[in-house]
């Protein structure tokens, strides 16, 4: 199967040039093709934001939901028809802010869906306000004196809730992202993939360069016994799981 089968003709792609979302989209298409997933058995569910537009650019059944409300319909769709592959694409604001309550409880329910969060550490679509993952001190049009809180750490929360699959990757590390998506989609149960994704327009701090310098690969990727170690590592905030 070729990734092109997932191309949407005449798609009006609404992302800025250089945006990390492009490689997430193209990698997802490659992974779906490699896994031989038929578009007719695939439902992409998303919320609202730049990340949430992804399903419109990937040929599949699409349920573009409200801001923050992608996990609830995704859970129901999978419950109603278990033959469907259900993948959620969402932003950091969408998933961890507006959808935070659903994030926690969906992990507890552990439905067989994959949740990809494009974490650009900012609200892209609404033009640059802080998101739950924005680093402390970053100034925005809303946080005029800089963000005053520590960022939300989705991995620690997911691990604490005993999520069955937790991963982080970086949109600039295509190979790693590809493998991570694959494992996540193949995982039976809820899989969370938090993808660091530079926002070239509104996040001048967490740039490609910055991610390259501040991330590293964790060892023992598949060993569940080292959850506590991962938990500790996750506290260091910036890493690749």
């Amino acid at each position: 199967m070729k990734p092109e089968v997932f191309d949407v003709e005449n798609a009006d792609i609404a992302w800025c040039s250089g945006c990390g979302n492009f490689s997430i989209l193209s990698t997802l298409k490659i992974v779906l093709a490699e896994l031989e997933i038929d578009a007719r058995e695939l439902v992409l569910v998303s919320g609202i934001g730049q990340a949430g537009k992804l399903p419109h650019f990937l040929k599949s059944h699409t349920y573009n939901s409200l801001h923050g409300r992608s996990l609830s319909p995704a859970t129901a769709i999978k419950a109603v028809n278990k033959d469907l592959k259900v993948i959620v694409t969402s932003g950091d604001g969408d998933m961890y802010g507006e959808g935070g309550n659903h994030f926690m409880h969906t992990i507890r329910r552990n439905p067989d869906i994959t949740c990809i969060v494009h974490n650009n550490m900012v609200y892209g679509l609404t033009k640059g306000q802080a998101s739950p993952t924005t680093l402390r001190g970053m100034r925005t049009s809303f946080q005029v004196e800089g963000v005053s809180e520590e960022p939300f750490n989705p991995l620690v929360v997911a691990l604490a809730l005993d999520a069955s699959f937790v991963a982080r990757t970086f949109s600039g590390d295509i190979e790693h992202m590809k493998e991570t998506f694959k494992s996540a989609i193949n995982h039976k149960g809820f899989s969370l993939v938090d993808v660091f994704q530079p926002c070239v327009t509104f996040n001048k701090i967490n740039t490609y360069q910055w991610f390259k310098e501040n991330t590293y690969h964790l060892e023992d990727f598949h060993d569940p016994t080292i959850k506590m170690k991962h938990l500790r590592e996750s506290w260091k905030k910036i890493n690749i799981l």
Binding site: P55, T62, N81, L84
Partner: protein
């Protein structure tokens, strides 16, 4: 003490603290009364607490069919000390009070019957048996066979183990003895005609029939979050849904509930959500989603007084406006059943009609209606049909195809070769985001065009009483039984009742009915007369008098009767 004789109708009220098992006696007694061959109707009011306070249940036993609350108390069984104070406004000279010595000390009237409820209960095994003793007393004075009563006790307590069942049977026995003594004393005589046919009738409440209607409507998914008075429907589906392959999920909040419901309907399972008050307010965002992504949904709203937390366990008709309005402009349908048959059929229909027009359909109920029990001969099932509105898609499928009637055939993922793309933005025919102004216009018109069909399918109001009326009484939803009985009491040829079970959109005949009257009067459980406002908006008709009650309690038959009498006197 005087002698009391009841030949047509008796209103018995049981009052006790939360935790004293008033609801248990209600279930036992209404079953026994029905099996004994009497018409029965019970309504209840309770406080938002788990222990203490005062809750009461009214059980009416009658020779006629009844489905309404009366203010009058003929016999009060006071199980707790606070009962007398709690019901002081309803206790009259004609009320006989039965209770413990202690409780009756507070009463300054002679028509009391002292019974050592608590002492007897202690002797049987604890105060918890007091309620069954009371049930036995009532059952005996209603001349219900002891076997029938024991049957009901057994049905209720069997699962609790032999010891408890034995205690309860004993308690019932003691109650029967006390009842026997009351009858012997000649203080109370109940000679209400029995009809053995009633034994085989149905005895259901306003929640159960809605639940059955939903199941008959093909409901296969329910997600909800607990909130009185909609929780009872959630309990019903949770309990029986498994037998009908219904998925039931208690979601983390109402927002998740409605979004799960829409997702389920999208994937091919007819879905239901139930909520009340502020929970419904939380769902409003999801209602908008269902309206623009054109995915059907059935939403049950158990109304209670608001705003915000309001009176959690009380009744109201305050949420019509919230149901009707909302952001954006697309059609919806609102049902408001007032009797059990309608509640069944409207709930069943809600799924077909939501599916047909791809819109949210609301069932407006309230605490009073959700909790009312009465017997009915049967529910007509011949007309019940599950319509199929899902199409098999092909490769060229477009979810939002522009059509003449505004309905774009609805596909579901995995059925056919097409892709089903739904979207909460304005979208093109395929379901992708658009900001094209011409497409926007077309899509708005497409959605609003569905209203033509919806209007044709709308259910006319029902005229009850004389067709040659000059006075027309208007009501909607749960006030049905109360207004109807008031009209029966008045026995006048010039008055009729126009009962609305579909409150939006209004059927075209509405104006004709209203115009024919010389005078019109409406009864509503809200302060703004929301339905009268809606009538004015839709028909230009202004109703002459609005009788509004918003203290959280239902209208009583007496109240409506009196209001109508004085209304008729004025002109």
């Amino acid at each position: 003490m005087s002698e009391f004789l009841f030949q047509e109708d008796v209103s018995i009220v049981l009052c006790g603290e939360a935790g004293q098992g008033i609801q248990t006696i209600e279930s036992i007694l209404i079953q026994s009364v029905k099996l004994g061959g009497h018409h029965v109707c019970s309504t209840k009011e309770y406080m938002s607490r788990v222990r203490g306070g005062e809750n009461s249940t009214e059980i009416r036993v009658s020779s006629k069919r009844i489905c309404a609350y009366v203010n009058r108390i003929d016999i009060l069984i006071a199980i707790s000390k606070g009962a007398i104070y709690h019901l002081k406004e309803r206790i009259s000279n004609d009320t006989i009070i039965i209770g413990d010595d202690e409780t009756l000390k507070l009463v300054e009237k002679e028509d009391v019957i002292k019974i050592p409820f608590l002492k007897t209960a202690e002797y049987i095994g604890g105060p918890i048996f007091a309620n069954v003793i009371a049930a036995g007393v009532i059952s005996r004075i209603l001349n219900i066979d002891k076997e029938i009563f024991n049957e009901c006790i057994t049905a209720m307590f069997e699962r609790k183990g032999e010891k408890i069942l034995k205690g309860d049977l004993k308690a019932g026995e003691e109650g029967y003895k006390v009842g026997e003594n009351i009858l012997k004393s000649g203080k109370i005589k109940i000679e209400i005609e029995k009809n053995p046919k009633i034994r085989d009738e149905l005895l259901l409440d306003g929640t159960e029939v809605v639940g059955m209607g939903c199941i008959a409507g093909g409901c296969r998914f329910m997600a909800s979050y607990p909130m009185t008075p909609s929780s009872t429907l959630q309990v019903f589906i949770a309990k029986y849904g498994g037998e009908f392959d219904i998925i039931f999920e208690q979601s983390e909040d109402e927002i998740a509930a409605i979004n799960m419901g829409i997702g389920a309907f999208y994937a091919g399972a007819r879905a239901l959500v139930a909520t009340s008050g502020s929970g419904f307010a939380l769902m409003e965002e999801g209602v908008g989603l269902s309206r623009i992504n054109e995915t059907p949904l059935v939403i049950y709203v158990g109304q209670r007084p608001g705003p915000a937390v309001g009176l959690p366990t009380r009744t109201s008709q305050e949420d019509l406006d919230l149901t009707l309005y909302g952001h954006g402009e697309t059609p919806k349908i609102i049902f408001a059943p007032g009797n059990l048959e309608d509640a069944f059929h409207l709930s069943q229909r809600a799924f077909n009609i939501a599916d047909k027009y791809q819109i949210p359909v609301f069932i407006l109920s309230d605490q009073y209606f959700a909790d009312i029990y009465y017997n009915l001969p049967s529910i007509y099932l011949k007309s019940v049909e599950i319509e199929h509105h899902i199409v098999k898609t092909d490769e060229n499928y477009k979810r939002y195809e522009l059509t003449d009637d505004g309905i774009s055939p609805r596909g579901i993922p995995g059925f056919g070769d097409g892709l089903v793309v739904v979207d909460p933005h304005e979208h093109d025919e395929e379901g992708h985001i658009t900001e094209d102004q011409n497409l926007r216009t077309k899509m708005v018109e497409k959605r609003i065009k569905k209203l033509d069909g919806i209007k044709k399918d709308s259910i006319p109001p029902e005229l009850i009483g004389s067709i040659d009326y000059s006075i027309l009484v208007v009501g909607w939803g749960s006030t049905y039984g109360i207004i109807k009985e008031a009209l029966d009491n008045l026995k006048r040829e010039d008055i009729a009742f126009l009962y609305f079970k579909q409150v939006y959109p209004l059927h075209d005949s509405t104006k004709k009915y209203l115009d024919k009257a010389n005078k019109t009067i409406i009864f509503e459980n809200n302060v703004e007369s929301q339905f009268a406002n809606l009538i004015k908006l839709q028909t230009d008709f202004i109703i002459d008098k609005n009788v509004l009650k918003y203290n959280g309690r239902p209208f009583s038959v007496e109240e409506v009767t009196e209001s109508l009498k004085s209304f008729m006197e004025v002109f």
